[in-house]
Symmetry: C2
Subunit: 766 residues, 2 copies
């Protein structure tokens, strides 16, 4: 852990330049707009350590996998988010000396991520080896309005008269750090350099993704455009224009790059270039400032329904906004084919864009803060991939439309490659069904069941009904060979969480059958035909399984048993482990981790969190106390569930301790890996720790429930959500809670045991 | 399966040339001498599919491993047997046309492996495109006398006058098919071509193994040496000499290559070249024929103590001799640093040279057929690697001299790389201890305990005593997270076999303590000092574990339970599986295999086999019947244990069925992978099926026990073993058994319930 960035309620600030922190800063200062994004690579040349990253949503590469011993059913490839055309680069020579901070003397350096307005700003002063000092000031953003547009304004002010040579370029000859076999993934299609416009079109070596990047470039001296004829040079997958201007001491030369990055993910290949050119022309007709202003306003709008304010702790304030900001720039619900990659648009590590994190952690964030349409896209994403999930299950020997969603995916196909995960960590299927339930609870949009939701539920229920087996010797259904959310156990039998959610899925599917029969008879009869659904036989089987499923329970401890054999372990709480032994995933060999009692992330407790109302408070307490003592929280997704449950059962100190473990994970580089990119999905967890945890917020059956606690360490906190299309703010401090309805219709709030109505514009203090 | 090779009691015969069978034939016709060996690559050029393979014992390469996700404790490399300098190649041009069977018309082709004499012979007639027909006759062998010497005699007889150009070469610029990253492993040191001698010295890129290969070449016309001055050409890692001779129609030109391959495994690098030159000079001073004759006599000697004769089934006869032949050419006990690679000197697949196969399957073969000194080398091998086994255990968190031998190794370090195998398939440690017991039972050489055996036992006992844990809830020791011999289960708890052999190891170590205290007090006190052995405390712990170890047992079936949860499975016998579902390792995904009841190879039954006298006949029967029904035998090592147990309990038909599954595995290419090399270690299994199975042979406490059965399909069979330094032959047919003592002292034989004494040279009919 390192406290490097300066605290500020709305900004992340870096003061002074530290080459060894550059890759971490590149991650933290990433910007994006939900459709594309970029690491904070310095615009001018930089010879120090840097991970260049420019990412375009939906475009991926099927990299060859790397496995020790192949096993039947392993995927052939590992879909990777790939580094793509770099549009924001400039090369600058002052009196023929290349500007490179690594080689210059840095007199001052200031960089900020302005989260309120969604922009990256930098100002620095450096002295070159030739003695000339220059001020550099750059502002960069990805537009929230036109999602293919990004722009850069870059100002250079030398302290003495000099010749400034500026190379504006677009470079698609980029590499991927995470490539398994050091391949480059892009091939050249076309480059064009005409006057102040550059276009580079490339395609991926496999899958034929096309990407056309166009840049229109302007140079100003003060407010006056400089009309200078550039020269061009030739390189593969690259276009440039080189300008030479003479500047006086103190004269500011401003470069502006308007960029369009358009891909065949959204456009037919034939019209991609034309589309790029037209859009670029249109966008470049307005100023950088006017685009920035519109985008900033859109960011401010987002904050109205998603902000969390914390009083009395500026670091916590900065952290929670950083997390919200990153989530909003990773996913905006623009396209049902996009999802929330674990590193968002901030790095290339981990293949695929979709894990069960999306349903289990991220969806509740978007449900609470955004229009339901945005969350719905995440559901539609899975619906569109149902065919692939059925194919995936078929590969593993399942039949009759059973669906197994992949552990990691880009297009619906599995692209992870460890058997204990892909074949066995099947609880992910449960989270996907649960998300449908969660969405309907929030929004009341039960029609979604007829639109696609039920088909997903059916595929999942069918999978579970085939995945269990009847144990003749014990007269019950069991489920063997699974890996629960706690990946520190592999290939176990009767994982309580997995078996519980499996039964829940089958019962929810059965319940949905009844609903559809009554409410959407004609749509439902189409679904029955399409899916060959034998209602009687299949629901009967589901019921039989549900009634006869083995769910391990320990009579002594009166807790659910994580899986068979858990109680036979050496039950030593993690507090008794020497600090030198932790984190165990760095200190212990894998077998030792597996046979130990230690839990990586909530497993039984994940089930209590999802299905909280099905258990009484004592059950919550007993299970929390039993499992918390063995949980090492070595997943960034772990502490939030513990924090929420601890808050629920009144362990506020524990809840706060757990909250602290994720809130500044990336800002303070807790896991020593921020340079690879940010932990986007776990950011949702730290949001939920506040809103669901301390705030006790739940939305069930379209009603809002609150049960707030204020951590002692804070004066108070306030969060804004979007509830039934009304922004609602909830302020909590040590003397009480105040709920304000910013919307235009009355809302109903359940506060602890009370039911309260709040008029449009009204405030209630509780 | 394909019946391609012709049956013959002493030979493997190929008639006619089939390019698509060439790689399979290359494997089957491999020759070697326990120190080095070679696939049957055609000597002249061949443009068809071929896997070139020349292997030198002890020389290996640490290839970079390939894993999906790295886990703590994974080895850095995967030691591979590597293809080395090719000494036997010739390139021949007749009237400037290159001789290449693939391009010529093959008029006749005959190849045989003469197992009785240990040589590879080929005779063929081909017509070149230029119309000239030639007879080719080649004879090749690896000497059993000088283990660095191999030789080739190659005869060419054209049917018409022509110019024959012969390039004699030595080529170290070879590649490895099994390289993970397509690397070549050898680097050039020196080449030399002088008159009729060629020398190439190379070293491995890593580990600095040096290999010097020298060849002395002679050309004859009839019996007359041709003195022709060769030319030479330059290539990296290569040396050659090119001769041009004119031959008349019907005139035979004979090329003879004497080769020495000497490595830094046996010689100091400084003297390697000199040694090679001297040895080559000495060997080439005698004729090819005289060396062949001496080597053939040594082979005949080997057969005297290891032959198995089968009457009434020539295919079975050929098969068992093929298996014995391959075992003897893979390992002769020359060096305690050599071991028995799973492919011997016949292919490069699978890294490492040593698996638990050595102790569990191969050692009993060598114990029965060879001088005890040869078997002892296999024990010394492990003793020499004890330090590495201790290091290996330390890496996994064990302490105080606990030793975990690797799953696969070359030099004592682990070089497999799947966690479920390296970290968990720890029963291998048990087989290594068992081998010491087995050796002492055969030979009575209890002194070996003091020489090194006990140190190995101590390391292993210490490992087990740390690997179990006390389950407070159940008041017993358990062992979690293991993989038994049945690799179709991974990461299970309380595998009966592993826990049983673990207890046995600790008890055997404790028993050895008492023996050493009484018999080798001074040696033992040195061992105590060296190993920091706390006799009282440690043996007490071993006893406590042994008394309180959980060994799962099913009260209903009255069988040992393979591991926790086995009885909860869907218990469907494999007979009820559709043939289209088998082999399951090709038809099913890995998770389905894991949660199924199906067993890859003997697991509980492996324990019954090792510790047979500790269980009564009913226990044997019940467990055999219970587990056999679920066993799919998808390991080449599986059927032999079942065969031996079936014979023991009187299921002779089942025993024969099981025997058939391994006997001709490679000859008939059952597993469709003979082209990669032969399954050397499972060849021991098919030998044991006859000798221990049908013959009921056991040697316990240096006494010979027999309980023979004759399969109905055979008229009879006879096997020869070496017992207390006396060759003994046992003939079994449907009317009785005859035992002949070919040795010089009286032996005692336990025949069923009788105790019989047989004089030197005597025969007893029973």
């Amino acid at each position: 852990m390192i406290k490097y960035f300066k605290a500020d309620p709305w900004k992340v600030i870096e003061e002074g330049f530290n080459p060894e922190m550059n890759e971490i800063a590149e991650s933290v200062f990433s910007i994006g707009n939900g459709m594309m994004g970029q690491r904070a690579n310095l615009e001018e040349s930089y010879s120090g350590k840097s991970l260049q990253g420019t990412y375009v949503g939906g475009v991926y590469y099927p990299d060859k996998t790397r496995v020790g011993w192949w096993k039947n059913g392993y995927p052939e490839y590992f879909a990777k988010v790939i580094n793509s055309t770099y549009w924001s680069g400039l090369r600058i020579w002052i009196n023929k000396e290349l500007v490179d901070i690594q080689e210059a003397t840095v007199n001052s350096f200031y960089r900020e991520l302005d989260m309120h307005n969604g922009l990256l700003y930098r100002k620095c002063n450096i002295t070159l080896k030739n003695g000339i000092s220059v001020d550099i000031e750059s502002t960069r953003f990805y537009s929230l309005i036109n999602k293919e547009y990004s722009a850069l304004r870059y100002k250079i002010t030398p302290n003495t008269a000099c010749e400034i040579k500026i190379e504006n370029y677009v470079d698609a000859d980029v590499s991927n750090k995470d490539s398994n076999y050091d391949e480059k993934f892009w091939e050249e299609i076309k480059q064009e350099s005409t006057e102040n416009k550059l276009f580079v079109t490339v395609k991926t070596k496999k899958l034929n993704w096309h990407l056309c990047t166009g840049v229109k470039f302007f140079l100003f001296s003060g407010d006056d455009e400089i009309s200078s004829i550039p020269t061009h040079s030739q390189h593969p997958k690259f276009a440039n224009s080189i300008y030479t201007v003479n500047a006086n001491g103190g004269q500011t030369i401003t470069a502006v790059k308007h960029a369009i990055s358009a891909s065949s993910f959204h456009h037919p290949i034939e019209s991609l270039e034309l589309h790029t050119k037209k859009t670029l022309e249109k966008m470049a007709a307005s100023t950088f400032e006017s685009h920035l202003d519109m985008s900033a306003k859109a960011w401010q709008e987002k904050w109205k329904s998603s902000d969390v304010e914390i009083e009395g702790d500026v670091e916590a304030q900065q952290a929670v906004r950083f997390n919200i900001y990153q989530l909003n720039q990773t996913y905006c619900g623009d396209d049902p084919r996009l999802n929330i990659g674990p590193k968002g648009y901030t790095g290339e590590k981990y293949g695929g864009s979709t894990y069960w994190d999306t349903e289990a952690y991220c969806l509740p964030f978007y449900l609470a803060t955004s229009d339901p349409a945005i969350s719905k896209q995440l559901l539609v994403y899975r619906y569109k991939q149902l065919d692939k999930a059925i194919e995936n299950a078929e590969k593993l020997g399942f039949k009759n439309g059973a669906a197994l969603y992949p552990m990691v995916t880009m297009n619906g196909e599995e692209c992870h490659n460890e058997w204990e995960i892909t074949f066995e960590e099947i609880h992910r299927n449960g989270a996907i069904a649960y998300a449908i339930h969660n969405y309907i609870e929030h929004t009341g949009d039960k029609a979604y069941l007829a639109e696609g939701g039920f088909e997903v539920l059916l595929g999942i229920a069918r999978f579970w009904s085939q995945r269990v087996h009847w144990s003749q010797n014990f007269g019950r259904y069991e489920m063997h060979g699974v890996t629960g959310p706690n990946e520190y156990e592999n290939n176990v039998n009767n994982n309580w969480y997995t078996s519980y959610i499996a039964c829940w899925c089958m019962m929810y599917a059965a319940e949905s059958v009844e609903y559809l029969q009554s409410n959407y008879p004609s749509e439902f009869s189409n679904i029955i035909k399409k899916t060959n659904f034998n209602i009687g036989m299949e629901t009967e089987k589901w019921n039989h399984i549900n009634e006869n499923m083995y769910l391990p329970y320990d009579e002594n401890q009166k807790v659910f048993v994580q899986h068979d054999g858990f109680m036979n372990k050496e039950l030593i709480p993690c507090d008794e482990l020497a600090p030198s032994e932790r984190p165990i995933n760095q200190k212990w060999s894998w077998d030792r981790i597996l046979r130990s009692v230690y839990i990586k992330q909530a497993d039984v407790l994940q089930g209590l969190y999802f299905f909280e109302d099905q258990f009484d408070m004592n059950t919550h307490k007993r299970n929390f106390e039993f499992y918390e003592q063995f949980t090492v929280h070595e997943s960034s997704l772990s502490p939030c569930v513990h924090s929420i449950l601890a808050a629920k059962i009144g362990f506020t100190e524990k809840a706060y301790e757990m909250y602290l473990r994720t809130a500044r994970l990336d800002l303070d580089n807790y896991n020593n890996d921020t340079e690879d990119g940010l932990h986007i999905t776990s950011m949702a967890g730290s949001y939920l720790s506040i809103v669901q945890g301390f705030g006790g917020l739940r939305i069930k059956n379209q009603s809002l429930y609150l049960d707030p606690h204020c951590p002692e360490q804070w004066h108070g906190y306030k969060f804004r959500i979007l509830f039934k299309n009304s922004p609602v703010s909830i302020s909590v401090n040590h003397s009480g809670t105040s709920v304000q309805n910013h919307g235009e219709s009355e809302i109903e709030v359940h506060f602890k045991q009370q039911r309260i109505l709040i008029k449009a514009g009204g405030v209630v203090n509780l």
